[in-house]
């Protein structure tokens, strides 16, 4: 599914080529630290939540070759449980986020265990169908508030101490969560486990013949991806203080695919870049109303036909580095 980037290890790489990922990471961190002084912090925080969501999605499509078309399920249900536990049970934000994340992990385990029984296109349809099922469940259940969603969720005090109504404190928390999730994904991809995942992506039959129980690897990758999507969803619910049907409905699943595609599938930084680009578009073009949907569709089509490497993938390919 991913466009291959020329292996930089074949020729003698210069130091900055070897360290391209580290340099990219430093640039990203500096940008995120400086950015709130330049633009709206709330926008940046939302963008970081979506960036983590897209990174979690990309873990599956980019490194295992599994296209999940139902990631809104984990994002949305995590945000519901985080919002509900913070509002109704009075959980502190960190426990609310944990509750939401655990929910996503459980949903990911159940849906993943079934979905990995089919490959390729059927896998995509199965994940989409399960997400739609849980959308209907969310619509029907009392605690989700139906069409209204869960509103006025308290941000609360982190560890009972830090007041998150303070925008700076909230910004630091979201930034830390985002960076932790990002580094965890980077670690997963570059671990022996990640190497097996890439082997499955390239040739699953071969991986099986080498003795790997590929189903277990795929399931674990799926659960990890769903869990991280849950972290993103929970954090967003605490941040914007709302959990609603939008987060759990199929257009959200499509949006995260679009973000990863625009940024570059199978690149570390692609989903981050993609989500910032897409959210900026949505924000700047919000006056267009329903035409926004058309624009998203056009971007989808253009990316698939002309621009499959995505923004970061294209840069990495030009400079022959890994990003």
């Amino acid at each position: 599914m991913t466009e291959r980037v020329a292996d930089p290890m074949t020729q003698q790489p210069s130091l900055w080529r070897q360290q391209s990922e580290t340099i990219g990471f430093v640039v990203m961190v500096v940008a995120l630290v400086v950015a709130p002084f330049v633009t709206y912090p709330l926008f940046l925080m939302q963008a970081m939540c979506f960036a983590l969501f897209a990174c979690a999605f990309n873990l599956l499509i980019g490194y295992v070759g599994l296209l999940s078309f139902g990631h809104a399920l984990y994002f949305g249900w995590a945000s519901y449980l985080a919002a509900y536990s913070a509002k109704a049970w009075g959980f502190t934000p960190e426990f609310a986020i944990l509750t939401g994340t655990a929910t996503a992990a459980l949903c990911g385990f159940l849906a993943g265990a079934l979905a990995i029984r089919r490959q390729g296109i059927y896998f995509a349809m199965t994940t989409l169908a399960f997400a739609q099922m849980m959308y209907f469940v969310a619509l029907r259940m009392k605690f989700t508030g139906g069409e209204d969603g869960i509103q006025a969720v308290p941000r609360g005090y982190l560890f009972g101490l830090i007041d998150l109504r303070n925008e700076s404190a909230m910004y630091v928390v979201v930034l830390v969560i985002f960076l932790a999730g990002f580094m965890l994904i980077h670690r997963i991809i570059n671990s022996p486990f990640g190497e097996v995942l890439k082997a499955i992506r390239e040739n699953e039959t071969r991986a099986i013949s080498l003795g790997y129980k590929t189903d277990r690897y795929k399931l674990l990758a799926f659960v990890l991806s769903a869990t991280l999507a849950g972290v993103a969803g929970s954090t967003k619910a605490i941040l914007v203080q709302i959990a609603s049907l939008t987060d759990v409905n199929w257009p959200m699943s499509g949006e995260v695919v679009l973000m990863s595609l625009v940024g570059g599938l199978g690149t570390i930084f692609g989903p981050v870049a993609g989500s910032f680009v897409i959210l900026t578009l949505q924000y700047k073009l919000s006056f267009l109303g329903e035409w926004l949907l058309v624009i998203q569709g056009v971007i989808f089509v253009a990316c698939v036909l002309l621009f499959r490497r995505g923004i970061v993938g294209e840069i990495a390919n030009r400079l022959r580095i890994r990003l």
Binding site: R117, I121, T126, A129, F130, F300
Partner: protein, 295 residues
Amino acid sequence: MFEIFGIPSTALFGQLLIGLINGSFYALLSLGLAVIFGMLNIINFTHGAQFMLGAVAAYMLLKFTGIGYWSALILAPIIVGAIGILIERFFLQWIYKLDHLYGLLLTFGLALIVEGVSRNYLGSAGLPYTLPESLRGGQNLGFMFLPNYRVWVIVASLSVCLGTWFLIERTRIGAYLRAATENPTLVRAFGINVPRMITLTYGFGVALAAFAGVMAAPIYNVSPNMGSDLIIVVFAVVVIGGMGSILGAVLSGFGLGIIEGLTKVFFPEASNTVVFVIMAIVLLVRPAGLFGRRA
């Protein structure tokens, strides 16, 4: 008026009828998906949008030119099928060599475009489509009231499904089609224009969706999101039935429609989710799908 398991017969048969109607649409749509997937190796996410376009075309024909239901039933599929052919020529033909998943992403993008444009021109609310005089009214069977139009929908979609099955399984064109599905290179070597066949197959599959859309117009209102809600259920139907066989798609379409209808009677809370639950069970018991061959 009598009762079955404590349920009044009118309710039971009424829901069964609605189930059969929904089943007709599931069958027609999953049939189209299966036909397209067989030739193009693409899951046509635009299928729901094309179903909606069929209904919109019928609505437009009636409103602006006064062309009625019967002509629309022929014209709308031709118009939407022609749009499908253009889509295949302009977009789809470039990605056959890529991973199947790109096909899904591309057609998803196209579906967003179609849906977005229709929302801008039609609004999100549904528009009513009036039935022709000849199909109004119904029969009172004593134990239930049977509207004529619903009977027509079931009969028409069954006939179209069987006709498609006959076309593909029993005619010469169908034989070419099946051969080209198995081995396009060899079929080309026999002098058959496979690319054109692919284009026409896509147009035909899309026309099936539009046909279903025209029939749905008088039942549901004509609205921009009527397709996207339906297509996801149809995906589940396709996962359950497997796309290997034409009859399999038709049978699972009708079967699941009926089950959904019955669920509405006995356990209404689950009526939206029952198809997905069945999908989960099928994945557990027969991962390849009820009629599918192991990949």
